[in-house]
Subunit: 317 residues, 2 copies
């Protein structure tokens, strides 16, 4: 059932990508179809399932679900500029294929499509401002992460603050909007945002762990990318806390770190328990999410939510 | 009186630029204060003056005026990435000072501040969608212009279509919103958008003419920039229409054109009446704007609008 809805989201996104430039249009449609997990729309629809079906407006829900995915896509397109990423979901990125210039405007256009969709679906609602605030948090998270690059004194607190903006915010919004526009009880709406935020935090931490543990063939982006870009994520921060002297000779090189040295650092991160301790953080967020899910109304959807959260967040442990 | 309002707009923009990164914040505030002409807020307030003062909400008008300037600033920050511009309003651009990466997110943040302001000031109004559509047209104009770079077969029609999006759209919106939220008559609201569009078209054409006629010291951006970037504007297109054979040896070099060759092309543009004919186009748009202004309600504001339009658009002739 969710699958059918996600297909409708995918179709709506394609329909909205009306960009005269056919090459860019095609690149964006390919990106939409290329195995993106549609996680944000999925959580959105699951929470909507918990609400009062009779009061729901399916067209409105569809547009909001699409808006969440498009906001995510917009940030991906701009992230790929910053990261100089050649690949995303096994496709050549827009910045690699058409240049950073085209990628700037393409991302901007996706932002306007996002706004089109939320204006159409919730004009007059206080949730418009929530969307704008979420977009702002998302960007500030990215901007701060960028400003912190190559800072060897970056803290865990700072890291958590940045991923709260760049990732957890949108998961929180997805769950919140699903509950609210799905006409759930006030209590469920309140829980939804917190559940989404915890899932988002855990999701990003696991994503950052994968940078240190995954083989290139398993993952759809080059490994150790963050390290080379000077983005020091939780596994590194935890290991460095334990043995700063082991890391400093490498990290003090900043952007001049070689691939060989980066591999040594990655090994040190594992050796000094960085991956293990980061997993402990992620597990705490997952546990908190599951505890909150327990307080949702009983039924099939609750079970599904629990299953998805467990599956998604325990994937690497 | 308008001056006082523009100062309030400036203060509101500063207030909204709450970006944790103090360097970027300072760069944006400097950009706001650095002699930007605040043309869009100016036209906005002038049209509002034509309306029913008793019905007006000063705070709402202030926010909308600021939103127009911020949307303009956002597009400048991203344009500077595309154009590799070192300077804007005699200041080092954000992309030159902090890198393209920072400039991407900074422009994005300005887009969210734009949306914050319009959501706060017109939530529930059909004008929200008009704003979103305007932003979309603006970006498509830029995207198309970029896609047309170095196309020696670019047409005048295409050029006019692109500047209608990238420049005239925002002038049209400024005048339209001034009239609408200033509670003008329906007739004035209808005229406002057309007047703004004609002013915007003439404004951009004159701006493009300056690339071929101004000394570097007079202008705040490097001359012949467009030509070197492969953006073939109206003066060149008109001259080339007359004597394609004179231009092709140079234009066929594309991005490899030298500074010396670009200067030769600039001379050819003047020799073959390109500047003259482009001015004729601009004058037509200006004349159309003035004819439409004539149909506005009588009074001081109408005189001011006429004066400003004449001053602004006949500056180079």
């Amino acid at each position: 059932m969710i699958q059918t809805k996600l297909q409708a989201v995918c179709l709506l996104i394609e329909e909205r990508l009306q960009i005269e430039n056919t090459e860019i249009r095609k690149a964006l449609i390919d990106l939409t179809n290329a195995g993106g997990k549609f996680l944000r729309p999925t959580f959105f629809f699951l929470f909507a399932e918990l609400g009062d079906k009779e009061k729901q407006n399916p067209e409105q829900l569809l547009k909001i679900a699409a808006s969440l995915e498009i906001l995510h896509m917009a940030s991906l397109v701009h992230d790929d500029i910053i990261d100089d990423s050649p690949l995303r979901r096994n496709l050549i990125t827009i910045q690699a294929q058409y240049g950073k210039d085209v990628a700037v405007y393409t991302g901007d256009l996706l932002f306007t499509i996002f706004f089109d969709l939320i204006i159409e679906s919730m004009n007059g609602s206080a949730y418009l401002a929530k969307n704008s605030a979420a977009m702002s948090h998302l960007l500030l998270g990215e901007l701060n992460q960028m400003a912190d690059r190559f800072h060897t004194d970056n803290t865990v607190e700072n890291y958590l603050h940045n991923i709260d903006g760049k990732t957890a915010e949108l998961f929180a919004l997805a769950c919140l909007e699903g509950a609210y526009f799905g006409h759930c009880s006030e209590e469920t709406v309140g829980l939804a945002e917190k559940i989404g935020r915890n899932i988002g935090m855990a999701f990003q931490i696991y994503d950052d762990i994968l940078d240190y543990t995954a083989d290139k063939k398993d993952l759809k982006k080059p490994i150790l990318e963050d390290l080379a870009q000077g983005v020091y994520t939780l596994p590194l921060l935890m290991a460095k806390k334990r043995h700063p002297e082991a890391f400093m000779p490498y990290l003090s090189k900043g952007a001049d770190i070689t691939v060989e040295e980066a591999k040594i650092v990655a090994d040190l991160v594992v050796t000094y328990q960085g991956v293990k301790e980061a997993k402990a953080y992620a597990k705490n967020f997952t546990k908190e999410a599951l505890t909150l899910i327990d307080r949702l109304p009983k039924g099939e959807t609750k079970k599904l939510l629990k299953k998805l959260t467990t599956y998604l967040l325990l994937r690497t442990s």
